[in-house]
């Protein structure tokens, strides 16, 4: 009985971590806690009596949804860099400033 509870706690903890990973930009790293949540959730489900399967079932559903979330993000959200106008402006200004400095250096030679 204690073992079953311990496994449910572990499954729930990994499921929560999995949910967090869905929202973090860590890619497939989220599969680790989700995988563990699924494994512990499945074990707990099998160990539970018919009238005690509700909690492991909820944990398994959360883990499965998190799995879909992580895989969906990997498939549909590409690694892209948005055009950062501020950074682009910084590059232009840096080159302008450099040209001015290089002209001054020319004057020293």
């Amino acid at each position: 009985m204690i073992m079953r509870k311990l496994i449910i706690v572990l499954a729930a903890v990994f499921a929560v971590i999995g949910v967090v990973f869905v929202f973090l930009p860590l890619g497939t790293l989220g599969l680790l806690p989700i995988g563990l949540a699924l494994i512990f959730g499945f074990i707990a489900f099998k160990m539970s009596a018919e009238d005690q399967k509700r909690v492991p079932k909820v944990v398994l559903i959360i883990a499965a949804l998190s799995l879909a979330g992580v895989i969906g993000k990997e498939v549909f959200i590409k690694d892209e860099v948005e055009v950062d106008k501020q950074f682009e402006q910084k590059k232009i200004e840096s080159e302008k400033e450099a040209k001015k400095d290089l002209e001054e250096l020319d004057g020293l030679e």
Binding site: V81, S94, L102
Partner: protein, 251 residues
């Protein structure tokens, strides 16, 4: 992380020879970091070249930029810009600039290599600290971390025996750092839009705490005239990572 993956990568890629570097080259890389055994893509690194003319000279402008992917910007935003203005024939630097923004931390550096070739005037401005200026002596062949990357591409590795080394000196954080490049043979590597390419595999070691492990900091340069860095693997005190070439143009 603050010392930046990009900085480490810059340390890795650089070395010497006679220039065959063209203007208007553009290489785009995906930078990944090893998290719990999985390579997680963090940022895009872009290396570009263009010509800059002043009233008396024509220089090659080498720029390396690192930008975190949009999904990372809310967590740890990186916008690093490293630039070097070099003699297009010898790749000897005239001016080096570094402008970094990493998770709120900022640092700007400018090194002016004096015409005597042995002195650098540096200006450094760190976040919440006053600007500092310094003049320090360097060797005549000292490169900055950007130009050394391009210098490495001018080394004729086809004449190297496996295990043969070549030494360089770079200046970084106002200090000279000896760098040794060791040729490790040929290997095939993925080179983005260029497909699979036979490459020269070289190991970089530097007398700095920034790089860890023996032969853990590696660069695969395409075994052709362009010698494009196709893959860069690095090992630093806080982990390992790599830069993989996504696209190369203007070669």
């Amino acid at each position: 992380m603050r010392k930046s993956l990009f900085t480490i990568c810059m340390l890795l890629v650089f070395s010497p020879g006679f220039s065959q570097i063209k203007a208007n080259e553009k290489f785009v890389y995906a930078a990944s970091y090893n998290m719990a055994g999985l390579m997680t893509q963090l940022a895009q690194v872009t290396m570009e070249t263009n010509t800059v003319t002043t009233s008396k000279s024509t220089l090659l402008h080498l720029s390396c930029q690192a930008e975190t992917f949009t999904k990372w910007d809310s967590f740890f935003k990186i916008r690093d810009l490293y630039e070097s203005y070099v003699n297009p024939a010898t790749l000897k630097p005239v001016m080096y600039k570094r402008d970094m923004y990493e998770g709120g931390y900022t640092k700007k550096e400018k090194y002016i290599f004096k015409p005597d070739g042995k002195t650098i005037n540096s200006t450094v401005k760190k976040k919440n600290k006053p600007e500092t200026r310094k003049t320090f002596a360097v060797g005549g062949s000292t490169q900055d971390v950007v130009s050394i990357l391009y210098k490495l591409r001018t080394v004729d590795f086809s004449k190297f025996a496996i295990g043969q080394t070549k030494s360089f000196i770079i200046v970084f954080d106002e200090k000279e750092i000896p760098v040794v490049v060791k040729y490790m043979g040929r290997e095939t590597a993925n080179a983005g839009n260029l497909g699979k390419k036979e490459c020269y595999k070289v190991s970089i070691s530097a007398k700095t705490d920034a790089l860890k492990g023996k032969d853990k900091n590696l660069i695969w340069l395409t075994a052709d005239a362009a010698k494009i860095p196709a893959l860069i693997k690095f090992s630093i005190p806080v982990g390992t990572g790599q830069l993989t070439l996504k696209s190369a143009s203007g070669i």
